[in-house]
Amino acid sequence: MVHMSVLQMSISAAVLILTIVIIRSFTIHKLPKITFVILWAVVLFCLLILFSIPLFNAALQIAGSVFTITTVWVIGVLAFAFFFGGTHFRYRREYCASLPVDCDTAHKWLKEQELMRSLQIRQSDRIKLPLTYGILKPVILLPKTTDWQNEISLHYVLTHELVHIKHFDIIIKWLLVLALCIHWFNPLVWVMYVFANRDIELSCDEAVVKVFEGRLNPAYALAIMRLEEKEAAPMFNIQSFDRCTFEYCRKFLKEDEKTIGICRDCAEIRVLGYSKMFRFRSIIGGVIIGFVFLFAPFLNQVLGLSIWPFDSIVSIGFIGVIPLIILCYLLPFARKVKLETIMGYFQQKLDSRGEDIGSLALGIQPDSARGRFGASPDVYGRVGITVIELFASFISGPFFFVYGIYKYRQLTAYIKGYRS
């Protein structure tokens, strides 16, 4: 029973991740953030080395047969690898076409740094936020619109990026992507992906604040730091953690708000939205789950037991769980698209009124006519959002059935605590 061993592996990984998530939620403000980065590295090691070998073995053993779960898995791995790789190379091409920086402050700073690798600072008019790319020859890429005269903010931004380079964060991020591609079917690996990326940023901030300790107000430092900077490797950065990305809110989050990932004012609005969505999606979710479990044995008969290698009870579980997992994980995709599109749209509106907090902090004046990489969400974008939302509502029912209740309760508790 090769499948069972793979399933068991995945379950043990899930338990490990879940344990860390629980520990993390209790101790996030007490322990140095680097602790969690190390913990995630341990999980990554397990996922990539201990748990992946049986997966590949299983793939090889069943390579001969026509259609199995393994085939689905391989297709999934290839699809995700293609998705992440493709996006990366598309962006990377833009980054390579960057120009040298003509700024004395930056050059002076660069000379002061000691790094074994050759470090460059370049600028581009195709990006809006600072980022870093390259492992052996790291490059700090700054937007053309950076305020080159503002020495303090420039130093902060550069130091933040340098810490990423020194910690080799890109490698961890790439390994996370790799683990995600191999274990794409495991919901908790996705959870890990989100949390680990966030912890990398938090631990980076921690290091930067230490560098500047005593020299400047840490709150101010954080405000600048918390410009969602993007690294070249992972394209799936969920941005909603450091800054409230609920609709148009661009507030930087306070420490206690970060745990929820949403500012207090927006939480209230979101709860209103949730209660409606909650009912709708739970009903659909219940229907889907009920349908799958009621009809699973019937489906199995139709499919023929020769194709399905399990006995009936296991296969009921499998038929129930697998579509559930697959469907659930379409939701983050849809939400990501929605977030990006909405953010782009409101960013334009804010830009035109010059009210973007993030940009003000860095002295960036985003070019509203352009949008990132020329993609400006317009009417099509908004129609797209509606379609995606509708689609997401239908497919994310089961996911919401589990996650929605948790989030809803968390938010209501949050607001209650705030009011009292």
Partner: protein, 117 residues
């Protein structure tokens, strides 16, 4: 036509030196700003797709279709529309007011206006 910085970099060389082979442009840019050959070719291709450069054979000779004046005019119009609500005279007025122009430059402008009349 909107030209991004990377594309402008290639156009600048063509405006300065006239028609050049893609290979030569790649060499210049590699020395000047450290672009790899692939990067330069990608950007040249993008310019061709946009209609800013025409590819001529043999040897992949690049011929600029957009002049420096076209590019300047586009950027100026953008600026006027964005910051001055489309009123070009206000741009000139604000430049005169902010002492960006030297006395000689102002004299030259006066001459340009006189010539127009």
């Amino acid at each position: 036509m909107k030209l991004f910085d990377a594309e402008l970099k290639i156009m600048e060389i063509l405006w300065k030196e006239g028609d050049l082979t893609a290979k030569y442009i790649a060499e210049i840019l590699n020395k000047q700003i450290g672009w790899s050959k692939t990067t330069t070719y990608t950007m040249i291709k993008r310019c061709i797709d946009k209609g800013a450069i025409e590819r001529r054979e043999p040897n992949f000779i690049c011929h600029p279709l957009v002049t420096i004046n076209d590019a300047r005019e586009y950027e100026t119009t953008e600026l006027i529309n964005k910051m001055y609500n489309g009123a070009a005279d206000q741009l000139v007025a604000s430049m005169l007011g902010s002492q960006l122009l030297s006395k000689e430059e102002i004299e030259r402008l006066k001459q340009v206006i006189r010539d127009l009349e």
